[in-house]
Every structure is written in C-alpha cells, then in structure tokens.
Symmetry: C3
Subunit: 490 residues, 3 copies
C-alpha cells in the first residue's frame, strides 16, 4: 500500500469554507465576509486561565495544549472506545495514565476520522493548518510529523500566550474567575499594560449553591477576600457586593452564572437568611438549596442594577452525568449533558423587577434550541434588558449557528443578540471560532440578500455589527453611576 | 456627508422576493407563484374591528394606523430602549404620552434598521411601497417625506376600509367578536350587502375562564344578549348555545379559543355546575378555574357538532408577562410570551369523543414549533376532524412558514392543513401576509419539484389549494343540520 | 375531458430524486450516491413476519399486501374521511367491512393526491414503478390498470418472499418476535440455509409491563417456552435469561423495547419481587407498574452485558390514542401519537451502571426530534455503549433524515450512529427506504464537501459506512463470552 500521506495534496483551508455553495449566494456571502474577516476579535466570555496569560510561558507540548484539556475532543474519542487513561486525563486517585504526550497525540490523530462533520474538525483544522502550519491531513500515518511541526512552533517566542493575542488580533479577552479570586494575575497584567485587554469575569457559582461540596469553605474564602467575616446572610450579600466592586475595579464587564434551572424566584429576606444560616451549620435541604440558588440569581440582577456588571446566564447543563467518571476524573471531562430548559416562567420574577432597568443587561444562553423561537427571541424582542448570547457549546457549529439565526431573527432581530461569544478554554481555537461565526453569519445574511429580504448595504453593516459592534456594546458595563462609588452594602 | 436618501435608488419590491435563490429552484418557484399571485384573499381569522369596516371612515394618520396598534413593531422598539410613551401607547392612568403622530412616526422610521431580517420588515415594506407608494427606504432622513406620502394617500376615498377590501382582493374577511357582542356592525354591514364578505367569529374566552377579572359582569352581559337570566350552569350553557346560533345567523363560520393550555378534560356536569355556582358567588379556586376552562373547551366541541361552527384553538401564550406593563398599558402591547404546549394528552378527551364526528372541524394553532412534527402532524394525519392552521404569530415568517411545511407535510400532507390564515389586526398588511405565504409555499413546492419528489402539475394544483381552496373548505360550517334550527338548548 | 392517463408520460423514477437541486451540490451528491446505490441492504430492525418468509407463499393481492396493513397509508386516508371499513380493516366485532381487494385499491388510488410531499408517496412510487412495473401515475382513472399489473406480478415466482430477498439485495433481515415466540419459523428457515440471513429479535414488551391486559397469561407462556415454572420474580428473570439465550442460539443480534418512557431506574430486588408477586395475583398499581417497567429496562441492559444482545430502545409513542378505535380495530392502525420524551435523567441509572461496559450496545430511537441535539447526540457522543438509531417512524422522511444529520453530527459525528435502520412491516418498501436514506445522506455529505467542511474521499468512505458498515457493526453481538455458555441464571 502506498503511503497515503505521500500522495495527499498539501493540507489547506479553502477560502470559501462554510459558505453556502449555490452559485448565486456564494459570491454575496464572500463579499459580506470580506467586510468582517479582518476585524479585531472581541472575546467577552471564555475560560482561558488568567495565570497562563500572566505567566506568558511557552506551552508544554501538543497533547497537553490541544488534546487533554479539550472535552469536546476527549468525549468523542471516549465514545468510540478510547480509554480516558490513554488520553492522559489525570486520575483523582493518582493512578497511572498515559504520560507520553506523543502517544496521546497519536491516539487523537489516528481517530481524526471520527470528527468528520463536527465543529471540532473545523476548529482543529484551522488551528493545525492556519495557526500551526501542519501540512498533511491528520492520520495515524502523519501523527508524528504533525506533532513535530507543532512542537517546533510552540518553541517559538511568537507562540507564547501574550504574543498570540496580537497574532490572533484579539482586542479584548475576558477570563472567568471565581468570586473569591484574588485577581493577582489580572493586577499583574494590568501593571504591565494589559488591563484594558485582559479582563476578569465574576463567577459566583461556588457560593450560590449551598448544597455544593465545600460550600462552607468557599464562603469563608469569599469573606476573607472581601474583608467581611461572614456570619449571616447580610454579611454574605455585603461580601458579594464588595467582591463585585473589586472585579469592577479590575476591569470586569460581566458576571456569569451556571445554574441547572433559570429560576429567579426571590425569597423573603428572612427565609433566605434562614436557609443561609442553616447551610452554614451544614444542614442543607435540597429544595431549599434550589430555592436559594434561584433567589440569588434575582439578587445578582439587583446588584447588577447597582454596579452595572452585565449578567450572563448559562442554564440547562446537567453536570457530571456519570458519577463514576466524576469520582475518577472530576468535572469538565465531557459528561455534562443538556436538559430541557424553561425560561418564560423562570425569568418572570427577575424581568418583572428589573427587565426595564437601564443598568441591567441580561445575556441569555441556552443548550436547548427548542427555546430559540419559542422563548428566547420573544423575551429578547421586548425586554430592553435582555440580549441573546451566541449559540453555546453543543450548538456552536455551522448548522447550530445557522439554526439560531433562522429561529431568533424573526422576533429578536439582530440588535437583540450579542453577536459572537466564543466561550472556549481552547486558546488556540479562538480565531477559528470567530472565523466560523463570521462565515455562518455571512451566509445567513447573503441568503437574505439574494432572497431580496435585505439590501446589500444593510447586510454589510449588520455583519460588522455581529462580528464586532454588538459584542463590544453588549458587554459594556451598564451603569450611570460613577465608576468607583462606595460599595452600597459597605 | 451626502444625503443618503438622495443617492438611494427608488424603493421597490423585487418580484422574486422570498423565493429560493438557487438558479434551478427559482424559476420553478416563480412559475408556481404565477399560479397563485392573483387569487382572491380568504382571510378567515383576524382582528380587524368590525366597527372600522362598518363606519368606513378614513384612517386618522400614519402613526395611529401603522405604529401604535402594531405590537410586533412596538415590542421591537421597546426592546431597544424606545419608551412606550414615545410611541404614544395610551396609559391607563391617563398620564401624558406622545400625541404628535409625526413624532411617533419618526421614532419608528429612525429605527427601521432594527427590523432587518424580521417579518415586520417584509410586511411593512409591502405596505409602504406597494400599498402606500412610499418611494424612499425608511430612515430618520426620509421619515417626514414618507409620513406626508402616507397621509396624502389615507385622505383618498380609495383608502377607506371597505374600498381597501376591493383593492386588496379580499373575498371574505372574518372579524373576532366576544360571545356577548351585539353584532350590530355586522348587521349593518349585512344590510348594506357585505354580509357574505365580512363575517363574525365567536370568541367566548371572557366567559370561559372563571378567574378572569370581570367574569361575573361578562356572564351577566352574555345572559342579557342571549335573553337568558343566567343563574346556573345550565343557563350558562343555554346562553352560549343561543349566542352561537346568533353568530351562525350573522354569518359566522367559526369559533376561536385562546387558552394557555390545550387541556380538554371534561368534568362531570354536577362538578362543572358547582364550580360555576361558586364562581358566580365570587369564590374561585385557581385549579377549579383551570379545570372549568378545559371542560368548556370540551363543551365547545360538543356544541360545534350541533351547530357546525369550525373550532379554532390558539393555546400556549402566557399573556402579560410583565405585570407592571400590564398595569400601566393593558393587554396586547407585546408582552405575551409563548410557553411549551402539550397537545397529545390534552386533546385526547375531545378527540376520543368527537374526533371522527362529521360536524366537527378543529383547527389547531401553536406557538411551539417543537409540536409540529411530534404532535400536531400526527394528530391531523389521522383524526378526520383535525386541521392544522398556518404558522401563528411569532412563527408567521418566511423561515417559520418554511419550517412548518418541512415539519408537518411528511405526516399531515397538505390537505390536513388549512392553507394560509393571516391572524392580524394590521389591516393594511393583509395582502403582504398572503403574498409572503404564497411565496414561501411556492418555494417549498418548487423544492419538491426540483428534487423530483412532486410533479409540476401537482405542485401547481397544491399551490392553488394552499392559497385559496383549503382555507375556503376548512372554514365552511361543518353541518348536516338545517341552517336555522331551534337552538338545541332552548 | 380527455383521459389524463392517456396523455400522461410513462411513470418513471428520476435518477436524481431526493438529491439537492442546486447545480454545485447535485453532481457531488450523485457521485457519492454512486458509491452506495448497489451496496447490499442490511435490515436489522423490522416487522416482517417470520412466518411469511418461512411459508414463502405468493402474496394474496395488491390491497392486502400494500394497503390494509400499512398504517401510514390508512391513517392518511382516514384523516380525509375515508372510513376504516372501506379500507378493509378487520373489525374485532366481526362486523362487515369491504372485502373486495379491488375496491380497497380504488379507495387508495383515487386519493393518491393526499400523499403529495409525504414519504409514503416516495416509498410507494418506488414500489409501484421500480418493483412492480406500474407505468401510469396512480389515480382513480388508472387504479384498475395498476391493480392488474401488480396482481400479475405477484403471481410470478420471482415475487415470493424469499426470492424478493435476493431481488432486493437484502444481505440480512431481522424480524421482531415476542419473548415467548417458539422460533419455529426461524428454525425452519435455518434448516433450509437461511439462518445467517433471517434472524429473530427478542421483544419482551408483553411481559415487562405488568399492567398490560393478558400479562399473567403471557408470563405463563414465557415460562412454558423457557421450561421454567414462573412462581416468583427470580423465576421470571431466569426465564427471560433462558429465552434470550434461545434467541442468541437462533441467531438473534438484538433485543427491542417499546416503552412510553425511557426511564431506567432500578428497584431494590425485594421491591421488584413484591410488585411481580402482586401482579401475578392480579393486583396492579399503575405507579408500581411504571416503576417495574423502568426497572426491567435496567435488567435488560444488565442481561445484555452477559449475552451481548444489542439493546434497542424505542420510547415515546402513546399507543392507541382513540380508545374507541382501539376497541373496534385493535392496535397498529395509525393511532399511536408521539409525546415529548426525556432521556438524560431517564437513562442516567442505566448508563452510570453499564454505559462503559464493553458488552453493552444501546441503540436509541426517538419520535421527539427536539432531543436530537439536546439529549441524544450529547449522550451518544460520550458513552461508548450508546449509538443513535436512524430517524424513526414519523421522522423517516427526506426532511426528517436531513434534520437528524444536521442536528446530531455536530456532537455525535457519524460513527456514533447506526447508519440506516428501516423499521417497516411493508416488505416491498424496504429497498425504497434504504434508497431514500442513501440519497439523503449523499445530499448531506455533498453539502459538507461543497462547503469545504469535508474532503470528497472522506465523504465517499462515510457514505459507505452509513449505508453498510455501521449497521453491520452496530448490530454485531457485543460479547467477549463464548457463544453458548450455560445461561447465567440456570
């Protein structure tokens, strides 16, 4: 058998990839894409570690950069029988796992065919070809050559994290940080002049769900950071407010909330205080914990009306579906599964209270595309506070993004969406994700143009909005109050 | 900066708008559209006020005709920060709101870009260009000129309501009228020869939901109209039956029912009577009220088997999502939000009892497109009584209508749908809505033809059915009984 | 009026039917289809009667072969007012129904237009034109000629059931057989050399739902077949295990489970035993019955880890929606309606226990396409045991299959699907269904190619996988144990 790699043409990205193919629409889509392809990247929600940016060290190796931490990739390999251990996922019991990055890379490369038709394929092709200069399509046969090419590239100074921000044209990137984060990396970056470009995001999940293991310790840590000895629910609110202002001072634009339910029903303050006190004593009732989480979403919105932080809500993921995998490997290894999510009743308390407040911006995400036309677009299409985030996670694909535009534009238009939000921990794939989004939006807008539902000048302007203007505007802090007031609760 | 309006080409509607763009499908779609574009309009469900038609006065001004009452339009402007007051929506507290129609029009025109990609854009473009002769694309710069053009047009005799019926080619239009309507406007119109062309629709919602504010008074009014002193549940049924026959005599073809749930579970008569009696005394339990509403849907179907009125069911809108807006502005200002809707269990009692009855025609609508393929098409594809109405409200768009055909045709075919039903209170947009529907259906049928799934002669015949034959047939009164029997309950 | 049949061109199937029409995509789709059109048919889930194959007699007549047993067809005719009696559906009360097959055929043929745009139209056209040689489009006018052509064909030896397996290129076909089946027909077929080509499927529904009428008798019959006197829950498990091994010995690859819910929550053994004992005494609580059904799904998975039978789950059909029709005509006459189905919580017990077991293969089907992207693809995209079956029943159509690929490929890829599974009792339509599936997949893959999301060589390889390789692999018995061990429970 001849070496297939030898015969293969040089691996390259087609300039028209992910654009509609019909000969009437494609040239229009290309023209629209031309208006956005070189715009800066606004990356307002992601999971790149602030420490990685602050330390600015070279990345270790291809596997630990591209394979091990990417749960999209890990889950697909596992689904086809590749053991977690072979992919080098660290075990919580310290058991031996594959530690040779080249072997891990081979396990991935030899299963490249599994990713056909998936967004991982699209992103990774961009990363390998465009960012890293790999020249042969990935396979068992070409795995080692690709590994060597990547390793070489990662050794170059131009591939350190901060240099990549420039290479990628990232104008601003937001990290995600727990409420008790010390923000030292951000302070460090700010001191070096990166403060406007790398900003934190306030994510208080750990302290809002009183039934999470370790909650008592997390609350204590929150108090330490805030300089508040938390003995009561009032102290707790005061500490949260203080921390939010600390994040504002560190450049934060937004908060982020991961709840299974979108419920925002407030509790009476005495009831909330009782649940909190009880939880501090270690006594947690599941129903009370759920009610408290919902209540705290309402409180977060209230605080946003004071400090202007944009509120992002990411509901509907049932985390850690397999408890054995969770026990062995921990969170974020591919076992979070979407569930049906209800927004209309759930958000009614929050929106009735703050849906017209000039300082609230609520960005809604979903894993349940049934809610696109039924719930999300109708809510965003009337409440001034609401914007729809980009298709999230399992929906962040060419067809998922197309279905999103087709389903929400009727009722929400374009202006009630945030434009693209990438939400990734795969740093090198950020340009690929924005590129794909610009292509899909170009294709959608082109269809409107060739169906004479939109004029070309409007489509061009809208494309720029979606790629750049809307994310910048959506994640501006929404406040008429001065930038550094005394925290209201202090 | 040059005046953009000055440079702009004359505003015009493209003849191929909303047709598929690919060069194989478009000519076939055009050919199919040619078969329907000039067919009369059958408008069997809408919210044009019978009084407007009976008085036949000239419309006041562009804003009060096109902006203030259009909740699609109002909600989009509000979602982007335009206050309700600036749009002239009357406040229930009598507080001052914008009263200059030109200012209201400017608020709309200057936000024209918000409607890109929405059906409002499509409809309004048709209204402005085709019906009213506006010649420049709407914007802040062109607002006044458009206003003047429209105002001039509205002053012409040919733009009075009844003249528009002719101009629009409306063969028949149904209004929506409460169960206690005196139908005087319809009597008046009938006396002037319009009785076959303008017909009422029986909408008893106000008296079927015993927990609605004002229910006791509404029941009393119903009794007055029916000539029945309503002291019991039996009287109530008798009054409803009498009113339905009065509507039949006034030309009605159909009833219409807006319930949050599609539930049709009947109650024992004694239980229903007890809930009714209790409610008359002002004592209403929410669960009992819901059960009574469901029971009354069942009763409405039973009555339809006697008087042959087509029964329309519009479930799944949570009305008045924001209670503060409701308190300030009342109903129908854009705050009705769809919720997930269940049909299979909910309709089982009704369909088991009457689903094969030759006198029942049940037309189902939905705001939850998840039910298209899962529930609605399977029900319509087996029960002779059931027809699927057109995509409703938030789904009445190019992509919404396409998804409807793609999802329901497999199992329901075309003949189990009603063809197009416009459901609008925006009188001037009726032709635009039918035009759009004919375009989308032409595109869908053309795709079947070019994919060799349907012959062209079949597609042409089906297009005519969808535009004209099916709505005429679906809304024919379904009865083998004589036209004016004694009301069964009398 | 001229005879339309006389003027009509010869009825023929277009070679490009169901392929995308745009001029860029179609040639690529055609090229991909060329790679699969002549592959053998792997038909691993269907409802062809083993007795029909074993007896190998000629089919009676066109109506009893093609109309009476086809519930897709019957339901559409009924929905437009054709009475069941006119279609010859046997009544349980023995009442007279149409018994002249030619009259039944005419009722169908004269309503041919109802099937426009439906998959029944597509399949039936293939059956009539390609398999049976009908030359004029079906209508009232051509009904008799078509009837005669078909009747003539059915009289030929080449149209007996086993000959058709060759004509159709069916490499293997699975029947569906109750747990208590004697498998005599399969033994007979095996003795004649058909054992590798015609295999049974173990379907224990009748004995897993303790609230089904006749359950006690069915359990007794199960015991008889298994040679186990079933007096307890333990006996019951032992009998099921024995029967499963009997099916394995008869060549079975799979089990099949039709439950309304996908729930797999196990019970404590003592609780299960108590429900079973109570049910044997005729004392059945509905909630306990539901819990027992869920528990038994869990047990079936456990048994699959021992005997390696592939487990198929078909949830979400509410059977016999109209109880009067059920009383008059029995099951499977078109009144099964899909309901919303939840998989994520429901399957968690089963998948936590066995989702990574090397001997479990769980094939999931759905009637609720909302679950495609939200639940099914995420589950199949991580658990090694899970595969997604093909779009089922109401979704087994050109657009349904396209939506399936568009929704699941992002997260599940191709390899986590089974490829095509036809699931039909309409024997003559099997080639049509596989042909359609290959066309739709060719169109989907071609779109990926022309959008430069997949290389052509990959698309060609994937098309062959979907048509042939994946169904063969998915339905291989998953076991590392020897083929004929002692049943574990014996």
């Amino acid at each position: 058998m001849p070496d297939p790699a030898a015969a293969a043409p040089r691996w390259a990205l087609h300039p028209d990839r992910a654009l509609p193919a019909d000969p009437v629409t494609r040239p229009v889509a290309r023209q629209i894409l031309d208006a956005t392809r070189n715009l800066p990247i606004v990356s307002m929600h992601g999971h790149v570690d602030a420490g990685v940016l602050a330390r600015d060290e070279r990345f270790d190796d291809p596997a630990s950069l591209l394979v091990v931490p990417d749960h999209y990739l890990v889950r697909m390999l596992v689904s086809q029988g590749v053991p977690h251990d072979a992919l080098g996922l660290p075990r919580r019991d310290g058991g031996a796992v594959q530690s040779d990055p080249r072997e891990i890379w081979r396990a991935f490369a030899s299963h490249w065919h599994l990713f056909r038709g998936t967004p991982t394929r699209f992103w990774m092709e961009h990363v390998l070809v465009e960012v890293l200069g790999v020249t042969e399509r990935l396979s068992a046969a070409t795995a080692d050559a690709a590994y060597d090419t990547i390793a070489e590239r990662l050794a170059e100074p131009g591939f350190r994290p901060l240099a990549l921000l420039d290479r990628f044209g990232i104008e601003i990137i937001a990290t995600t940080d727990p409420a008790s984060a010390d923000l030292a990396d951000h302070a460090d970056l700010a001191a070096r002049g990166w403060g406007e470009r790398i900003v934190p995001t306030f994510r208080p999940d750990a302290v809002l769900h009183v039934d999470r293991p370790g909650w008592v310790d997390d609350v204590a840590l929150l108090g330490d950071r805030a300089g508040v000895a938390i003995g009561s629910y009032r102290d707790f609110l005061r500490a949260l407010e203080a921390r939010r202002w600390a994040f504002v001072d560190a450049g934060a634009r937004a908060t982020d909330h991961g709840h299974v339910l979108a419920d925002t029903t407030p509790m009476a303050e005495t009831d909330a205080a009782a649940v909190f006190a009880s939880a501090l004593r270690g006594d947690v009732d599941p129903a009370a914990a759920r009610a408290f989480s919902a209540h705290m979403l309402f409180e977060m919105a209230r605080m946003s009306t004071q400090d202007g932080l944009v509120m992002q809500l990411h509901p509907g993921a049932l985390r850690d579906h397999d408890p054995h995998v969770m026990a062995m490997l921990g969170h974020d290894v591919g076992y979070d599964i979407p569930v049906a999510t209800e927004y209309v009743h759930a958000l009614r308390p929050l929106l009735s209270a703050f849906g017209h407040h000039p300082n609230l911006r609520l960005v809604l995400f979903t894993l349940d595309e049934d809610t696109f036309s039924r719930e999300l677009a109708p809510l965003a299409g009337v409440y001034p506070a609401v914007r729809l985030g980009a298709p999230w996670w399992f929906l962040d694909s060419p067809d998922g993004m197309r279905r999103f535009r087709e389903a929400v534009t009727d009722t929400a238009g374009f202006a009630n969406t945030t434009g693209f939000v990438d939400d990734t921990r795969a740093f090198l794939s950020i340009p690929a994700r924005h590129d794909l989004s610009r292509r899909v939006d170009a294709g959608f807008l082109a269809r409107l143009v060739v169906e004479h539902r939109l004029d070309l000048d409007e489509a061009l302007e809208t494309a720029v909005d979606l790629a750049y203007g809307l994310p910048r505007a959506a994640y501006a802090r929404q406040t008429t109050t001065p930038d550094h007031p005394h925290p209201p609760g202090a």
